[in-house]
Subunit: 321 residues, 2 copies
Protein backbone atom coordinates (compact mmCIF):
# COMPACT_ATOMS: atom_id res chain seq x y z
CA UNK A 1 0.00 0.00 0.00
CA UNK A 2 1.29 3.43 -0.85
CA UNK A 3 1.91 5.96 1.86
CA UNK A 4 0.08 9.24 1.36
CA UNK A 5 1.18 10.62 4.70
CA UNK A 6 3.66 13.04 3.22
CA UNK A 7 0.89 14.85 1.35
CA UNK A 8 -0.75 15.80 4.62
CA UNK A 9 -3.89 13.69 4.31
CA UNK A 10 -4.78 10.23 5.61
CA UNK A 11 -3.63 7.10 3.76
CA UNK A 12 -6.14 6.23 1.10
CA UNK A 13 -7.53 9.74 1.43
CA UNK A 14 -9.00 11.76 -1.35
CA UNK A 15 -7.98 15.02 -3.00
CA UNK A 16 -9.96 17.11 -5.47
CA UNK A 17 -8.13 19.53 -7.76
CA UNK A 18 -10.24 22.22 -9.44
CA UNK A 19 -8.64 23.87 -12.46
CA UNK A 20 -6.13 21.70 -14.32
CA UNK A 21 -3.88 24.46 -15.63
CA UNK A 22 -0.21 25.01 -14.83
CA UNK A 23 -0.63 24.95 -11.05
CA UNK A 24 -3.46 22.41 -10.73
CA UNK A 25 -1.84 20.19 -13.33
CA UNK A 26 1.45 20.34 -11.49
CA UNK A 27 -0.30 19.37 -8.23
CA UNK A 28 -1.79 16.30 -9.97
CA UNK A 29 1.55 15.36 -11.53
CA UNK A 30 3.37 15.81 -8.21
CA UNK A 31 0.82 13.59 -6.45
CA UNK A 32 1.26 10.85 -9.07
CA UNK A 33 5.04 11.20 -9.18
CA UNK A 34 5.15 11.08 -5.37
CA UNK A 35 3.24 7.83 -5.23
CA UNK A 36 0.08 9.25 -3.74
CA UNK A 37 -2.01 6.25 -2.71
CA UNK A 38 -5.44 7.82 -2.46
CA UNK A 39 -7.95 9.07 -5.03
CA UNK A 40 -7.61 12.19 -7.14
CA UNK A 41 -10.72 13.92 -8.42
CA UNK A 42 -10.34 16.61 -11.06
CA UNK A 43 -12.48 19.45 -12.33
CA UNK A 44 -11.98 21.85 -15.20
CA UNK A 45 -14.20 24.10 -17.30
CA UNK A 46 -12.50 22.57 -20.37
CA UNK A 47 -14.56 19.37 -20.77
CA UNK A 48 -12.20 17.89 -23.38
CA UNK A 49 -9.17 18.39 -21.13
CA UNK A 50 -11.08 16.85 -18.22
CA UNK A 51 -12.00 13.77 -20.30
CA UNK A 52 -8.47 13.25 -21.55
CA UNK A 53 -7.00 13.59 -18.04
CA UNK A 54 -9.48 10.96 -16.85
CA UNK A 55 -8.78 8.69 -19.83
CA UNK A 56 -5.03 8.93 -19.25
CA UNK A 57 -5.44 8.05 -15.61
CA UNK A 58 -4.08 11.32 -14.25
CA UNK A 59 -7.31 11.66 -12.29
CA UNK A 60 -9.53 8.90 -10.92
CA UNK A 61 -12.75 10.86 -11.27
CA UNK A 62 -13.85 13.71 -13.52
CA UNK A 63 -16.01 16.05 -11.47
CA UNK A 64 -18.70 17.82 -13.49
CA UNK A 65 -19.73 20.38 -10.91
CA UNK A 66 -18.56 21.39 -7.50
CA UNK A 67 -21.69 20.64 -5.45
CA UNK A 68 -20.90 18.13 -2.78
CA UNK A 69 -17.18 18.22 -3.49
CA UNK A 70 -16.35 19.77 -0.13
CA UNK A 71 -17.85 16.90 1.82
CA UNK A 72 -16.51 14.02 -0.27
CA UNK A 73 -12.78 14.81 -0.10
CA UNK A 74 -10.11 15.31 2.55
CA UNK A 75 -8.51 18.19 0.65
CA UNK A 76 -9.82 20.41 -2.12
CA UNK A 77 -7.22 22.41 -4.04
CA UNK A 78 -8.83 25.34 -5.89
CA UNK A 79 -6.58 26.33 -8.81
CA UNK A 80 -8.91 28.52 -10.85
CA UNK A 81 -7.96 32.03 -12.00
CA UNK A 82 -8.65 34.72 -9.38
CA UNK A 83 -12.05 35.91 -10.59
CA UNK A 84 -13.33 32.33 -11.03
CA UNK A 85 -12.01 31.44 -7.58
CA UNK A 86 -13.82 34.36 -5.95
CA UNK A 87 -17.04 33.33 -7.73
CA UNK A 88 -16.51 29.78 -6.50
CA UNK A 89 -16.09 30.90 -2.90
CA UNK A 90 -19.17 33.12 -3.07
CA UNK A 91 -21.28 30.31 -4.59
CA UNK A 92 -20.06 27.48 -2.37
CA UNK A 93 -19.33 29.20 0.95
CA UNK A 94 -22.05 27.27 2.74
CA UNK A 95 -20.87 23.93 1.32
CA UNK A 96 -17.26 24.77 2.23
CA UNK A 97 -18.31 25.59 5.78
CA UNK A 98 -20.39 22.43 6.13
CA UNK A 99 -17.93 20.08 4.45
CA UNK A 100 -15.21 17.91 5.93
CA UNK A 101 -12.57 18.94 3.37
CA UNK A 102 -9.76 21.35 4.10
CA UNK A 103 -9.79 23.78 1.18
CA UNK A 104 -6.76 25.61 -0.19
CA UNK A 105 -6.35 27.93 -3.17
CA UNK A 106 -3.31 29.02 -5.16
CA UNK A 107 -4.23 32.56 -6.22
CA UNK A 108 -1.48 35.17 -6.66
CA UNK A 109 -3.48 37.74 -4.68
CA UNK A 110 -4.73 36.99 -1.21
CA UNK A 111 -6.65 39.91 0.32
CA UNK A 112 -9.63 39.41 -2.05
CA UNK A 113 -9.69 35.70 -1.13
CA UNK A 114 -9.74 36.52 2.58
CA UNK A 115 -12.47 39.11 1.95
CA UNK A 116 -14.58 36.56 0.03
CA UNK A 117 -14.20 34.11 2.91
CA UNK A 118 -15.22 36.74 5.45
CA UNK A 119 -18.30 37.42 3.36
CA UNK A 120 -18.91 33.66 3.25
CA UNK A 121 -19.09 33.30 7.01
CA UNK A 122 -17.12 31.88 9.92
CA UNK A 123 -17.59 28.20 9.04
CA UNK A 124 -16.17 28.62 5.50
CA UNK A 125 -13.33 30.71 6.93
CA UNK A 126 -12.43 27.92 9.35
CA UNK A 127 -12.15 25.27 6.61
CA UNK A 128 -10.36 27.39 4.00
CA UNK A 129 -6.62 28.17 4.10
CA UNK A 130 -5.55 30.81 1.54
CA UNK A 131 -2.25 29.79 -0.07
CA UNK A 132 0.08 31.08 -2.78
CA UNK A 133 2.76 28.73 -4.12
CA UNK A 134 5.45 30.98 -5.67
CA UNK A 135 5.95 28.91 -8.78
CA UNK A 136 5.19 30.52 -12.10
CA UNK A 137 6.48 30.20 -15.58
CA UNK A 138 5.77 32.01 -18.83
CA UNK A 139 3.88 28.99 -20.22
CA UNK A 140 0.47 28.15 -18.86
CA UNK A 141 -1.99 25.28 -19.00
CA UNK A 142 -1.94 21.54 -18.37
CA UNK A 143 0.76 20.93 -20.99
CA UNK A 144 3.18 23.22 -19.14
CA UNK A 145 2.56 21.50 -15.79
CA UNK A 146 5.40 19.55 -14.17
CA UNK A 147 5.68 17.37 -11.08
CA UNK A 148 8.67 19.30 -9.76
CA UNK A 149 7.20 22.79 -10.17
CA UNK A 150 6.97 23.44 -6.41
CA UNK A 151 10.27 21.83 -5.41
CA UNK A 152 12.37 24.32 -3.47
CA UNK A 153 9.88 27.15 -4.03
CA UNK A 154 8.10 29.14 -1.36
CA UNK A 155 4.45 28.66 -0.56
CA UNK A 156 3.01 31.61 1.34
CA UNK A 157 0.00 30.91 3.58
CA UNK A 158 -2.13 33.92 4.52
CA UNK A 159 -4.67 32.69 7.08
CA UNK A 160 -8.06 34.29 7.25
CA UNK A 161 -8.84 35.81 10.65
CA UNK A 162 -10.60 32.66 11.79
CA UNK A 163 -8.74 29.89 9.99
CA UNK A 164 -8.81 26.59 11.89
CA UNK A 165 -5.31 25.76 13.12
CA UNK A 166 -5.64 22.08 12.23
CA UNK A 167 -6.80 23.02 8.75
CA UNK A 168 -3.76 25.28 8.49
CA UNK A 169 -1.48 22.44 9.61
CA UNK A 170 -2.95 20.15 6.93
CA UNK A 171 -2.49 22.81 4.24
CA UNK A 172 1.11 23.36 5.32
CA UNK A 173 1.80 19.62 5.29
CA UNK A 174 0.30 19.37 1.79
CA UNK A 175 2.60 22.08 0.38
CA UNK A 176 5.61 20.64 2.19
CA UNK A 177 4.72 17.35 0.49
CA UNK A 178 4.80 19.20 -2.83
CA UNK A 179 8.41 20.15 -1.99
CA UNK A 180 7.67 23.79 -1.11
CA UNK A 181 8.99 25.82 1.82
CA UNK A 182 5.99 27.17 3.70
CA UNK A 183 5.97 30.75 4.99
CA UNK A 184 3.20 32.65 6.79
CA UNK A 185 2.16 36.27 6.55
CA UNK A 186 -0.99 38.43 6.58
CA UNK A 187 -2.81 38.67 3.25
CA UNK A 188 -2.33 42.45 2.95
CA UNK A 189 1.43 42.12 3.46
CA UNK A 190 1.56 39.34 0.88
CA UNK A 191 -0.26 41.48 -1.66
CA UNK A 192 2.04 44.47 -1.11
CA UNK A 193 5.18 42.31 -1.40
CA UNK A 194 4.05 40.59 -4.58
CA UNK A 195 2.79 43.82 -6.11
CA UNK A 196 6.38 45.05 -5.72
CA UNK A 197 8.34 41.87 -6.53
CA UNK A 198 6.18 40.14 -9.11
CA UNK A 199 3.16 42.06 -10.41
CA UNK A 200 4.99 45.33 -11.14
CA UNK A 201 7.79 43.62 -13.16
CA UNK A 202 5.05 41.84 -15.10
CA UNK A 203 3.25 45.13 -15.81
CA UNK A 204 6.51 46.90 -16.65
CA UNK A 205 7.33 44.21 -19.20
CA UNK A 206 3.90 44.59 -20.76
CA UNK A 207 4.07 48.41 -20.67
CA UNK A 208 7.51 48.42 -22.28
CA UNK A 209 6.44 46.03 -25.05
CA UNK A 210 3.18 47.96 -25.47
CA UNK A 211 5.10 51.22 -25.99
CA UNK A 212 7.22 49.52 -28.67
CA UNK A 213 4.26 47.79 -30.33
CA UNK A 214 2.56 51.16 -30.81
CA UNK A 215 5.23 52.16 -33.36
CA UNK A 216 5.05 50.69 -36.88
CA UNK A 217 8.82 50.89 -37.35
CA UNK A 218 9.67 49.04 -34.14
CA UNK A 219 9.10 45.51 -35.41
CA UNK A 220 11.92 45.95 -37.95
CA UNK A 221 14.16 47.08 -35.10
CA UNK A 222 13.86 43.68 -33.46
CA UNK A 223 16.47 42.27 -35.86
CA UNK A 224 18.95 44.52 -34.01
CA UNK A 225 18.05 43.50 -30.46
CA UNK A 226 20.90 42.94 -28.05
CA UNK A 227 21.55 40.12 -25.64
CA UNK A 228 19.56 41.66 -22.78
CA UNK A 229 16.29 42.17 -24.63
CA UNK A 230 14.96 38.62 -24.37
CA UNK A 231 15.68 38.36 -20.64
CA UNK A 232 14.11 41.71 -19.86
CA UNK A 233 10.94 40.99 -21.86
CA UNK A 234 10.50 37.30 -21.03
CA UNK A 235 7.57 38.07 -18.70
CA UNK A 236 5.79 39.68 -21.68
CA UNK A 237 5.09 36.20 -23.03
CA UNK A 238 2.76 35.45 -20.11
CA UNK A 239 -0.99 34.99 -20.51
CA UNK A 240 -2.73 38.40 -20.83
CA UNK A 241 -6.10 37.36 -19.38
CA UNK A 242 -4.51 35.67 -16.39
CA UNK A 243 -2.42 38.72 -15.56
CA UNK A 244 -5.25 41.18 -16.16
CA UNK A 245 -7.22 39.11 -13.64
CA UNK A 246 -4.41 39.25 -11.08
CA UNK A 247 -3.75 42.95 -11.66
CA UNK A 248 -7.36 44.15 -11.20
CA UNK A 249 -7.53 42.16 -7.97
CA UNK A 250 -4.38 43.79 -6.60
CA UNK A 251 -4.95 47.23 -8.07
CA UNK A 252 -4.38 49.49 -5.05
CA UNK A 253 -0.91 48.10 -4.15
CA UNK A 254 -0.04 48.00 -7.86
CA UNK A 255 -1.01 51.62 -8.48
CA UNK A 256 1.18 52.56 -5.50
CA UNK A 257 4.07 50.57 -7.00
CA UNK A 258 3.58 52.17 -10.42
CA UNK A 259 3.75 55.59 -8.76
CA UNK A 260 6.95 54.72 -6.89
CA UNK A 261 8.50 53.43 -10.11
CA UNK A 262 7.37 56.61 -11.84
CA UNK A 263 9.18 58.65 -9.18
CA UNK A 264 12.39 56.65 -9.67
CA UNK A 265 12.14 56.97 -13.44
CA UNK A 266 11.39 60.68 -13.11
CA UNK A 267 14.58 61.11 -11.07
CA UNK A 268 16.61 59.39 -13.77
CA UNK A 269 14.89 61.52 -16.44
CA UNK A 270 15.82 64.64 -14.46
CA UNK A 271 19.49 63.64 -14.26
CA UNK A 272 19.45 62.84 -18.01
CA UNK A 273 18.03 66.25 -18.89
CA UNK A 274 20.76 67.90 -16.83
CA UNK A 275 23.41 65.61 -18.31
CA UNK A 276 24.42 64.71 -14.74
CA UNK A 277 26.37 61.50 -15.22
CA UNK A 278 27.62 61.43 -11.62
CA UNK A 279 24.08 61.57 -10.21
CA UNK A 280 23.00 58.84 -12.64
CA UNK A 281 25.94 56.65 -11.65
CA UNK A 282 24.98 57.13 -7.98
CA UNK A 283 21.38 56.08 -8.62
CA UNK A 284 22.50 53.10 -10.73
CA UNK A 285 24.99 52.04 -8.04
CA UNK A 286 22.21 51.96 -5.43
CA UNK A 287 20.13 49.87 -7.80
CA UNK A 288 23.01 47.46 -8.41
CA UNK A 289 23.52 47.06 -4.67
CA UNK A 290 19.89 45.97 -4.34
CA UNK A 291 20.32 43.68 -7.34
CA UNK A 292 23.21 41.99 -5.56
CA UNK A 293 21.07 41.54 -2.45
CA UNK A 294 18.45 39.91 -4.68
CA UNK A 295 20.95 37.49 -6.17
CA UNK A 296 22.23 36.61 -2.68
CA UNK A 297 18.71 36.08 -1.34
CA UNK A 298 17.86 33.84 -4.27
CA UNK A 299 21.00 31.80 -3.71
CA UNK A 300 20.26 31.55 0.03
CA UNK A 301 16.77 30.16 -0.59
CA UNK A 302 18.17 27.60 -3.05
CA UNK A 303 20.96 26.61 -0.66
CA UNK A 304 18.54 26.21 2.26
CA UNK A 305 16.41 23.90 0.14
CA UNK A 306 19.36 21.80 -0.92
CA UNK A 307 21.12 21.57 2.43
CA UNK A 308 18.01 21.00 4.53
CA UNK A 309 15.56 19.05 2.39
CA UNK A 310 12.08 19.29 3.80
CA UNK A 311 11.35 16.03 5.67
CA UNK A 312 8.09 14.22 5.04
CA UNK A 313 5.43 15.60 7.39
CA UNK A 314 3.23 12.99 9.07
CA UNK A 315 -0.44 13.20 8.17
CA UNK A 316 -2.87 14.33 10.79
CA UNK A 317 -4.13 11.19 12.44
CA UNK A 318 -7.46 12.76 13.19
CA UNK A 319 -9.78 14.70 11.01
CA UNK A 320 -9.29 18.40 11.75
CA UNK A 321 -12.61 18.58 13.57
CA UNK B 1 52.94 31.74 -41.79
CA UNK B 2 49.60 32.53 -40.36
CA UNK B 3 46.92 34.06 -42.52
CA UNK B 4 45.51 37.27 -41.12
CA UNK B 5 43.40 37.94 -44.18
CA UNK B 6 40.14 37.11 -42.47
CA UNK B 7 40.64 39.92 -39.97
CA UNK B 8 40.55 42.43 -42.82
CA UNK B 9 44.16 43.59 -42.62
CA UNK B 10 47.29 42.57 -44.55
CA UNK B 11 49.23 39.45 -43.54
CA UNK B 12 51.69 40.32 -40.84
CA UNK B 13 49.76 43.51 -40.29
CA UNK B 14 49.41 45.26 -36.99
CA UNK B 15 46.42 46.02 -34.81
CA UNK B 16 46.23 48.28 -31.76
CA UNK B 17 43.47 47.80 -29.22
CA UNK B 18 42.83 50.68 -26.80
CA UNK B 19 40.87 49.74 -23.69
CA UNK B 20 41.23 46.11 -22.59
CA UNK B 21 37.81 45.69 -20.98
CA UNK B 22 35.05 43.32 -22.01
CA UNK B 23 34.97 44.42 -25.66
CA UNK B 24 38.66 45.20 -26.21
CA UNK B 25 39.67 42.09 -24.31
CA UNK B 26 37.33 39.99 -26.42
CA UNK B 27 38.84 41.49 -29.60
CA UNK B 28 42.32 40.49 -28.40
CA UNK B 29 41.17 36.99 -27.43
CA UNK B 30 39.35 36.53 -30.77
CA UNK B 31 42.48 37.58 -32.67
CA UNK B 32 44.62 35.09 -30.75
CA UNK B 33 42.02 32.32 -30.95
CA UNK B 34 41.65 32.96 -34.69
CA UNK B 35 45.37 32.56 -35.32
CA UNK B 36 46.04 36.19 -36.14
CA UNK B 37 49.57 36.28 -37.58
CA UNK B 38 50.41 39.93 -37.12
CA UNK B 39 51.25 42.09 -34.11
CA UNK B 40 48.83 43.21 -31.42
CA UNK B 41 49.53 46.40 -29.50
CA UNK B 42 47.45 47.10 -26.42
CA UNK B 43 46.67 50.18 -24.34
CA UNK B 44 44.79 50.58 -21.10
CA UNK B 45 44.63 53.20 -18.36
CA UNK B 46 45.09 50.34 -15.87
CA UNK B 47 48.89 49.99 -15.95
CA UNK B 48 48.88 46.72 -13.96
CA UNK B 49 46.40 45.12 -16.38
CA UNK B 50 48.47 46.32 -19.31
CA UNK B 51 51.66 44.81 -17.84
CA UNK B 52 50.02 41.47 -17.11
CA UNK B 53 48.50 41.27 -20.61
CA UNK B 54 51.96 41.91 -22.05
CA UNK B 55 53.61 39.40 -19.71
CA UNK B 56 51.06 36.72 -20.60
CA UNK B 57 51.61 37.29 -24.29
CA UNK B 58 48.09 38.44 -25.06
CA UNK B 59 49.59 41.59 -26.56
CA UNK B 60 52.97 41.99 -28.23
CA UNK B 61 53.44 45.59 -27.16
CA UNK B 62 52.13 47.64 -24.26
CA UNK B 63 51.39 51.12 -25.55
CA UNK B 64 51.87 53.84 -22.94
CA UNK B 65 50.25 56.70 -24.78
CA UNK B 66 48.38 57.09 -28.01
CA UNK B 67 50.68 59.53 -29.83
CA UNK B 68 51.88 58.02 -33.06
CA UNK B 69 49.58 54.99 -32.73
CA UNK B 70 47.52 55.96 -35.75
CA UNK B 71 50.49 55.87 -38.10
CA UNK B 72 52.16 52.68 -36.81
CA UNK B 73 49.21 50.26 -37.20
CA UNK B 74 46.91 49.03 -39.94
CA UNK B 75 43.89 49.08 -37.65
CA UNK B 76 43.24 50.82 -34.34
CA UNK B 77 40.27 49.56 -32.32
CA UNK B 78 39.17 52.14 -29.75
CA UNK B 79 37.31 50.36 -26.93
CA UNK B 80 37.25 53.04 -24.26
CA UNK B 81 34.04 54.12 -22.48
CA UNK B 82 32.08 56.79 -24.39
CA UNK B 83 33.39 59.89 -22.60
CA UNK B 84 37.01 58.69 -22.81
CA UNK B 85 36.53 57.86 -26.49
CA UNK B 86 35.19 61.33 -27.26
CA UNK B 87 38.16 62.87 -25.42
CA UNK B 88 40.48 60.64 -27.41
CA UNK B 89 38.97 61.72 -30.73
CA UNK B 90 39.14 65.40 -29.76
CA UNK B 91 42.77 65.08 -28.68
CA UNK B 92 44.02 62.93 -31.55
CA UNK B 93 41.87 64.05 -34.50
CA UNK B 94 44.86 65.44 -36.38
CA UNK B 95 46.90 62.25 -35.83
CA UNK B 96 43.94 60.11 -36.89
CA UNK B 97 43.56 62.16 -40.07
CA UNK B 98 47.27 62.01 -40.86
CA UNK B 99 47.80 58.34 -39.96
CA UNK B 100 47.65 55.26 -42.14
CA UNK B 101 45.49 53.26 -39.71
CA UNK B 102 41.81 52.63 -40.20
CA UNK B 103 40.23 53.48 -36.85
CA UNK B 104 37.09 51.90 -35.44
CA UNK B 105 35.35 52.32 -32.11
CA UNK B 106 32.83 50.15 -30.25
CA UNK B 107 30.74 52.73 -28.39
CA UNK B 108 27.05 52.02 -27.67
CA UNK B 109 26.06 55.52 -28.85
CA UNK B 110 27.07 56.77 -32.25
CA UNK B 111 25.80 60.30 -32.92
CA UNK B 112 28.27 61.85 -30.41
CA UNK B 113 31.11 59.91 -32.09
CA UNK B 114 30.10 61.21 -35.52
CA UNK B 115 29.82 64.74 -34.08
CA UNK B 116 33.30 64.47 -32.54
CA UNK B 117 34.68 63.35 -35.91
CA UNK B 118 32.98 66.22 -37.71
CA UNK B 119 34.56 68.61 -35.22
CA UNK B 120 37.89 66.85 -35.84
CA UNK B 121 37.88 67.56 -39.55
CA UNK B 122 37.48 65.81 -42.88
CA UNK B 123 40.73 63.84 -42.76
CA UNK B 124 39.91 62.22 -39.39
CA UNK B 125 36.38 61.52 -40.61
CA UNK B 126 37.75 59.69 -43.63
CA UNK B 127 39.95 57.33 -41.58
CA UNK B 128 37.47 56.62 -38.76
CA UNK B 129 34.56 54.18 -39.08
CA UNK B 130 32.09 54.36 -36.15
CA UNK B 131 31.03 50.84 -35.14
CA UNK B 132 28.90 49.20 -32.47
CA UNK B 133 29.22 45.46 -31.95
CA UNK B 134 25.97 44.34 -30.24
CA UNK B 135 27.60 42.10 -27.70
CA UNK B 136 27.16 42.93 -24.06
CA UNK B 137 26.98 40.99 -20.87
CA UNK B 138 26.36 41.95 -17.26
CA UNK B 139 30.01 41.34 -16.35
CA UNK B 140 32.61 43.81 -17.50
CA UNK B 141 36.38 44.00 -17.72
CA UNK B 142 39.20 41.91 -19.12
CA UNK B 143 38.30 38.88 -16.99
CA UNK B 144 34.82 38.72 -18.55
CA UNK B 145 36.20 38.89 -22.11
CA UNK B 146 35.81 35.87 -24.38
CA UNK B 147 37.03 35.03 -27.87
CA UNK B 148 33.54 34.09 -29.07
CA UNK B 149 31.77 37.22 -27.78
CA UNK B 150 31.01 38.57 -31.26
CA UNK B 151 30.13 35.26 -32.93
CA UNK B 152 26.69 35.49 -34.51
CA UNK B 153 26.09 38.97 -33.09
CA UNK B 154 25.34 42.10 -35.09
CA UNK B 155 27.87 44.84 -35.59
CA UNK B 156 26.25 48.10 -36.67
CA UNK B 157 28.40 50.51 -38.68
CA UNK B 158 27.26 54.13 -38.73
CA UNK B 159 29.51 55.93 -41.23
CA UNK B 160 30.32 59.57 -40.71
CA UNK B 161 29.24 61.76 -43.61
CA UNK B 162 32.66 61.54 -45.22
CA UNK B 163 33.89 58.10 -44.23
CA UNK B 164 36.30 56.62 -46.75
CA UNK B 165 34.68 53.64 -48.49
CA UNK B 166 37.86 51.55 -48.36
CA UNK B 167 38.19 52.28 -44.67
CA UNK B 168 34.59 51.17 -44.24
CA UNK B 169 35.31 47.96 -46.15
CA UNK B 170 38.27 47.21 -43.90
CA UNK B 171 36.20 47.84 -40.78
CA UNK B 172 33.43 45.58 -42.07
CA UNK B 173 35.93 42.83 -42.89
CA UNK B 174 37.42 43.13 -39.40
CA UNK B 175 34.05 42.61 -37.70
CA UNK B 176 33.11 39.79 -40.07
CA UNK B 177 36.40 38.19 -39.04
CA UNK B 178 35.26 38.52 -35.41
CA UNK B 179 32.22 36.45 -36.41
CA UNK B 180 29.74 39.34 -36.41
CA UNK B 181 27.05 40.13 -38.98
CA UNK B 182 27.64 43.65 -40.21
CA UNK B 183 24.72 46.05 -40.71
CA UNK B 184 24.76 49.71 -41.78
CA UNK B 185 22.59 52.60 -40.67
CA UNK B 186 22.83 56.32 -39.91
CA UNK B 187 24.10 57.18 -36.42
CA UNK B 188 20.89 58.97 -35.40
CA UNK B 189 18.77 55.95 -36.35
CA UNK B 190 21.15 53.68 -34.43
CA UNK B 191 20.85 55.82 -31.33
CA UNK B 192 17.03 55.89 -31.47
CA UNK B 193 16.83 52.11 -31.97
CA UNK B 194 19.22 51.32 -29.12
CA UNK B 195 17.61 53.86 -26.81
CA UNK B 196 14.41 51.86 -27.31
CA UNK B 197 15.78 48.29 -27.39
CA UNK B 198 18.73 48.44 -25.02
CA UNK B 199 19.21 51.64 -23.04
CA UNK B 200 15.61 51.97 -21.83
CA UNK B 201 15.43 48.36 -20.53
CA UNK B 202 18.70 49.06 -18.71
CA UNK B 203 17.32 52.24 -17.15
CA UNK B 204 14.01 50.56 -16.29
CA UNK B 205 15.88 47.80 -14.47
CA UNK B 206 17.85 50.38 -12.53
CA UNK B 207 14.74 52.50 -11.82
CA UNK B 208 12.79 49.48 -10.61
CA UNK B 209 15.61 48.35 -8.31
CA UNK B 210 16.14 51.92 -7.15
CA UNK B 211 12.48 52.23 -6.17
CA UNK B 212 12.79 49.02 -4.14
CA UNK B 213 16.12 49.96 -2.58
CA UNK B 214 14.57 53.16 -1.22
CA UNK B 215 12.42 51.12 1.20
CA UNK B 216 14.06 49.66 4.32
CA UNK B 217 11.62 46.74 4.42
CA UNK B 218 12.22 45.66 0.83
CA UNK B 219 15.46 43.77 1.38
CA UNK B 220 13.66 41.29 3.64
CA UNK B 221 11.09 40.80 0.87
CA UNK B 222 13.77 39.37 -1.41
CA UNK B 223 13.52 36.01 0.35
CA UNK B 224 10.05 35.77 -1.23
CA UNK B 225 11.03 36.64 -4.80
CA UNK B 226 9.46 34.59 -7.55
CA UNK B 227 11.03 32.93 -10.55
CA UNK B 228 10.73 35.98 -12.82
CA UNK B 229 12.54 38.46 -10.56
CA UNK B 230 16.10 37.47 -11.42
CA UNK B 231 15.48 37.53 -15.16
CA UNK B 232 13.74 40.89 -15.05
CA UNK B 233 16.45 42.52 -12.93
CA UNK B 234 19.53 40.87 -14.49
CA UNK B 235 20.48 44.11 -16.27
CA UNK B 236 20.62 45.81 -12.86
CA UNK B 237 23.91 44.05 -12.21
CA UNK B 238 25.63 46.04 -14.96
CA UNK B 239 28.33 48.61 -14.31
CA UNK B 240 26.77 51.91 -13.08
CA UNK B 241 29.50 54.25 -14.37
CA UNK B 242 29.56 52.64 -17.80
CA UNK B 243 25.79 52.96 -18.17
CA UNK B 244 25.66 56.49 -16.78
CA UNK B 245 28.24 57.35 -19.45
CA UNK B 246 26.13 55.77 -22.22
CA UNK B 247 22.89 57.31 -20.93
CA UNK B 248 24.11 60.91 -20.76
CA UNK B 249 25.45 60.58 -24.30
CA UNK B 250 22.09 59.37 -25.61
CA UNK B 251 19.91 61.52 -23.40
CA UNK B 252 17.47 63.02 -25.91
CA UNK B 253 16.34 59.69 -27.43
CA UNK B 254 16.28 58.17 -23.94
CA UNK B 255 14.09 60.91 -22.47
CA UNK B 256 11.70 60.38 -25.40
CA UNK B 257 11.63 56.64 -24.65
CA UNK B 258 11.04 57.25 -20.95
CA UNK B 259 8.10 59.47 -21.84
CA UNK B 260 6.61 56.84 -24.19
CA UNK B 261 7.01 54.21 -21.48
CA UNK B 262 5.39 56.59 -19.01
CA UNK B 263 2.41 56.93 -21.36
CA UNK B 264 2.04 53.15 -21.64
CA UNK B 265 2.34 52.74 -17.88
CA UNK B 266 -0.14 55.56 -17.36
CA UNK B 267 -2.65 53.76 -19.57
CA UNK B 268 -2.26 50.59 -17.52
CA UNK B 269 -2.60 52.61 -14.32
CA UNK B 270 -5.81 54.15 -15.67
CA UNK B 271 -7.31 50.72 -16.45
CA UNK B 272 -6.27 49.51 -12.99
CA UNK B 273 -7.97 52.43 -11.26
CA UNK B 274 -11.17 51.70 -13.21
CA UNK B 275 -10.84 47.96 -12.53
CA UNK B 276 -11.13 47.42 -16.29
CA UNK B 277 -9.76 43.90 -16.70
CA UNK B 278 -10.84 43.63 -20.35
CA UNK B 279 -8.91 46.78 -21.32
CA UNK B 280 -5.87 45.51 -19.40
CA UNK B 281 -6.06 42.14 -21.13
CA UNK B 282 -6.23 43.94 -24.50
CA UNK B 283 -3.13 46.00 -23.73
CA UNK B 284 -1.28 42.94 -22.41
CA UNK B 285 -2.24 40.93 -25.51
CA UNK B 286 -0.75 43.60 -27.78
CA UNK B 287 2.40 43.50 -25.69
CA UNK B 288 2.58 39.72 -25.91
CA UNK B 289 2.21 39.86 -29.69
CA UNK B 290 5.25 42.14 -29.85
CA UNK B 291 7.09 39.82 -27.45
CA UNK B 292 6.46 36.94 -29.85
CA UNK B 293 7.79 39.03 -32.75
CA UNK B 294 10.91 39.64 -30.65
CA UNK B 295 11.42 35.94 -29.97
CA UNK B 296 10.96 35.16 -33.68
CA UNK B 297 13.40 37.90 -34.73
CA UNK B 298 15.98 36.62 -32.27
CA UNK B 299 15.60 33.08 -33.59
CA UNK B 300 15.85 34.31 -37.19
CA UNK B 301 19.14 36.10 -36.52
CA UNK B 302 20.55 32.99 -34.83
CA UNK B 303 19.36 30.72 -37.66
CA UNK B 304 20.85 33.00 -40.33
CA UNK B 305 24.18 32.88 -38.52
CA UNK B 306 24.13 29.12 -38.23
CA UNK B 307 22.89 28.34 -41.73
CA UNK B 308 25.03 30.87 -43.56
CA UNK B 309 28.28 31.19 -41.63
CA UNK B 310 30.08 34.34 -42.61
CA UNK B 311 32.90 33.41 -45.01
CA UNK B 312 36.39 34.77 -44.46
CA UNK B 313 36.68 38.13 -46.16
CA UNK B 314 39.92 38.70 -48.13
CA UNK B 315 42.07 41.50 -46.80
CA UNK B 316 42.41 44.61 -48.87
CA UNK B 317 45.51 44.09 -50.99
CA UNK B 318 46.24 47.80 -51.07
CA UNK B 319 46.33 50.31 -48.31
CA UNK B 320 43.04 52.19 -48.32
CA UNK B 321 44.73 55.29 -49.69
Amino acid sequence: MNDSAHFGIPDNGSIAVCGLGLIGGSVVRALRAGGFGGRIAGHDTDAALLRSCRAAGWIDEAVQDLDGLFDRHDLVVLCQPVAALLDCIATHAAAIGAGRAVVVDVASVKAPVVAALQAGGAAAMARFVPCHPIAGKAQHGWEAAEAGLFQGKRCVITPARRSDSQAEARAAAFWAGMGAQVAWMPAEQHDRIYAALSHLPQLLSYAYLHSLAARPEAEAWLAYQGTGFQGFTRLGGSDPALWADIAVHNSAPLVAEIDRLGDALGLIRHHLLLGDGAALADAFAGARQFHRAGVAASAAVRAATQVHPIPPVPALTQEPR
